[in-house]
């Protein structure tokens, strides 16, 4: 009987209170969520669906906790047990609420930011910041609940936040710039852009801190978003049509091989000219371009210079200097023209002069060493970008050596324009240029101008 009395007196009231609260909770949830559902259904927002589905179940659980708390307070338990149990229930409530808020923040941030098309990393960072804030607030409430000394903890938290702000102070301008870049759609992944520095490349990724650009040379440049916002960018936007075959840029470096052969007069010069390899003729008719490619007018070929300086035959020198190399399809035919000019002169010269000792003509051979560069153009826009930055050796190879030493009939660029891009007119325009009358830099600029007209 004692047990029944105790049940009646000590347990019945708290149980009734708990059930009462549960009943109220069920009723409240029904009317409030029905009303909420009706109101939100008019809005048809994804956010409302997320909020309802995330809080509907927990709403009941929170009231269960509330019911348990009130039941405990009306029970006959000793005061210290009531306080302890109350704190445990409050802690469970705070933790549960925090967990739900974290879930909600994750879903809502994702929902909102994905609509703005910001990079995934920005979403991750924002979500993390929201979650960490909720955790910190939750922990602070729990500490307060359990009576921990708050002032030192608050000071520690403030210090930690200050340190974090200091440590990541550069991050925020980048984050904001990253958002601006994507929001305003100034650049997007895949765009070909040109930076103020002259560097060109495709945008690979825009993260919350940096923008990654893959240059036409295959290097990766990482630029902080805030810096990118401050520079002038040319966005070429839509790419021109792709070539059937990409253009691989090569470069040609050269070694000068000494043959040990020399000539003291025109007769010896002709004898040697008839027998030396093509690479020797090529060297002496092109070394002036390589050595003085920055000068206009460039000096004449080596034979003309020697005939004038060492032998003093000005007329022959002028004749040799005026041979138009562009007219000859091969080194062999150029060689014959030079020999003929000297022989014609010799036929009219009675006493041939010798060069003073030490001023003999030394025959040098050009050894071409060709190697591929990292630059490959897939369309005309990329071609122009690469042409702007390749070395003069590379330009020289595709213009001069391709035609005369590799017997391709014209320069490599024109061949590609016509065969792979179908740009016959451009191919002809570039082919018509006389490269011997430009400095290499001017020639580069001229070809770029012709290409730009087609873009």
């Amino acid at each position: 009987m004692v047990t029944v009395d105790w049940l009646k007196a000590d347990l019945l009231v708290p149980v009734l209170v708990f059930l009462g609260v549960l009943f109220i909770a069920l009723w409240l949830r029904r009317i409030s969520y029905d009303a909420l559902q009706r109101w939100l259904s008019k809005k048809q927002t994804e956010a409302s669906r997320i909020i309802i589905s995330a809080t509907k179940g927990p709403f009941l659980h929170w009231f269960l906790i509330l019911g348990a708390y009130i039941a405990l307070q009306v029970s006959v338990l000793a005061t210290q047990w009531k306080v302890l149990a109350g704190k445990i229930l409050a802690s469970i409530f705070v933790a549960y609420l925090g967990w739900i808020l974290i879930r909600l923040s994750r879903e809502l941030v994702k929902l909102y930011l994905s609509k703005t098309k910001v990079p995934r990393s920005v979403i991750t960072v924002t979500t993390n910041v929201a979650q960490v804030t909720i955790v910190i607030v939750g922990v602070l409430i729990l500490l307060e609940l359990w009576g921990a000394p708050m002032i030192p903890i608050l000071v520690a938290v403030i210090c930690a936040i200050a340190i974090a702000i200091l440590a990541f102070r550069d991050m925020f301008p980048n984050l904001v710039s990253g958002l601006q870049l994507t929001q305003q759609k100034q650049i997007k992944t895949g765009d070909l852009i040109r930076l103020e520095s002259g560097e060109e490349g495709h945008v690979q990724e825009i993260t919350w801190r940096n923008t990654e650009i893959r240059t036409l040379g295959g290097e990766t440049i990482i630029i902080p978003n805030s810096k990118l916002m401050q520079t002038t960018i040319i966005n070429y936007g839509k790419q021109p049509k792709a070539a059937k075959e990409p253009f691989q840029f090569f470069t040609r470096l050269h070694l000068k091989e000494l043959t040990g052969l020399k000539a003291r007069n025109l007769t010896e010069l002709v004898e040697r000219l008839e027998s030396v390899p093509d690479a020797v003729i090529y060297y002496h008719t092109h070394s002036f371009i390589e050595e003085y490619h920055f000068l206009t007018p460039q000096p004449a070929n080596d034979f003309a210079l020697w005939v004038e300086d060492a032998l003093g035959y000005d007329v022959l020198a002028e004749r040799l200097a005026s041979i138009d190399t562009l007219e000859f399809p091969s080194v062999g035919s150029l060689r014959q023209m030079i020999i003929r000019a000297i022989q014609d002169f010799l036929a009219q010269t009675a006493n041939e002069r010798d060069a003073p000792p030490g001023n003999e003509f030394h025959f040098v051979k050009s050894i071409g060493v060709v190697l591929p560069t990292p630059y490959v153009a897939h369309n005309l826009r990329e071609f122009v970008g690469i042409l702007r930055r390749i070395s003069t050796d590379s330009l020289y190879f595709h213009i001069f050596e391709a035609r005369l030493r590799l017997h391709r009939g014209t320069n490599d660029f024109s061949l590609w324009f016509e065969d792979s891009l179908g740009e016959k007119e451009l191919a002809e325009e570039v082919s018509r240029l006389d490269p011997y009358n430009y400095t290499l830099e001017n020639l580069r600029e001229k070809i770029i101008q012709l290409c730009e007209k087609r873009l």
């Binding site: 070694l255 000494l258 050595e291 920055f294 000096p299 030394h362 060493v369 060709v370 070395s391």
Partner: protein, 410 residues
Amino acid sequence: MNPRINLSDYEHIVGRSYIEELRMLAGKLSGKSILNVNSTFVGGGVAEILSRMVPLLNQLGVDTRWRVISGDTRFFEITKKFHNALHGSQSEPISDEEFSIFLETTKQNMHKIDLSSDILFIHDPQPVALIAKKSNTHSKWIWRCHIDISHPDSRVWDFLKQFVVNYDGTVFSSPNFAQELPIRQFFAPPSIDPLSDKNRELSIEATDAILAKYGLDRDKPIILQVSRFDWLKDPLGVIKAFELVRKNFVCQLVLAGGAASDDPESEAVLKKVKERAADNPDIHILDLPPDSNLEINALQRAATIIVQKSIREGFALTITEALWKAKPVVASAVGGIPLQVRNKLTGLLCHSVEGAARALRQILANPDYGQWLGRNGREHVRQHFLITREIRDYLLIFLTAGRNEDFIYL
């Protein structure tokens, strides 16, 4: 080598694509080792270029080492005689015993030096006979001759030639140094380092301080010749040309150089030059100590025109230095000077005192013309006579050693 200098420091001088190509070439040598051998770590042009080149090659990722041969005083006296004989200057005869000492010392060095390497780059005649150790057919041996052998003493050259022909290739500094050899001979002119004390940029204050130190008037045009006091540099000819010019133009002449320790005649030349210039306050004779790199740099930068009126010349790196400083140059058409000075394009060439005076007057009267020549000269040096070009030539030689085509695809 200044440890602070690295390859990227040259990028703003020669251009990014140039350094990119060096890296591409170096990449092709990946896994290969290069061993340089010469006779000294300090003093002389070869040690200077190696002390700069070896670290740069290693920065490029090419495994490059440098060793020197050892020998007693007698050995180096003999190799000095070789040097003079190859240079074509009047030299003492070399006995059979001296040739034997040379070979014996070489043999000792073969045991002392670890010669295991993919490419052996042997500099000048002192270590040339190390080629006798060439047994491994995979390793390539290149002989780099830095000296003028256009008119070598035939006995000494024939002795050295028996070793040279066993190399896989040779490298000379000028086309007219080429010899009749059954192996490939390459032409790679010497170079200057634009970041060295002698060539780096100097502030106006630093330049002015050095001019003040030597009592030079900054406001009066300076005609400068930098060279050791040697009859072959024709200092009296320069004074004569200056006197012809001075009649019409206010200017001053500076002859700056040192007395070579191995040339007993240089003291006498210096004395004579000083006597000749004594009564002319516009002529300044500066006897500089050997390590006066900054002083020479400042003088060259302050000069209006730089002269090199040599009677005979090697490559004339003083001309390279002058051109690099964008100065108009008046120089004799001898030795390696015409390789650097293309008449009326990168400077003015002369053949006589009167010709030099005429060229000086042309430039003094037409400063714009002088500036144009100077600009062209600097560009010419940038393209062809900087250390980066020499490194590129060597990389190409290493990569193509043993190949005989005229067009090589790597």
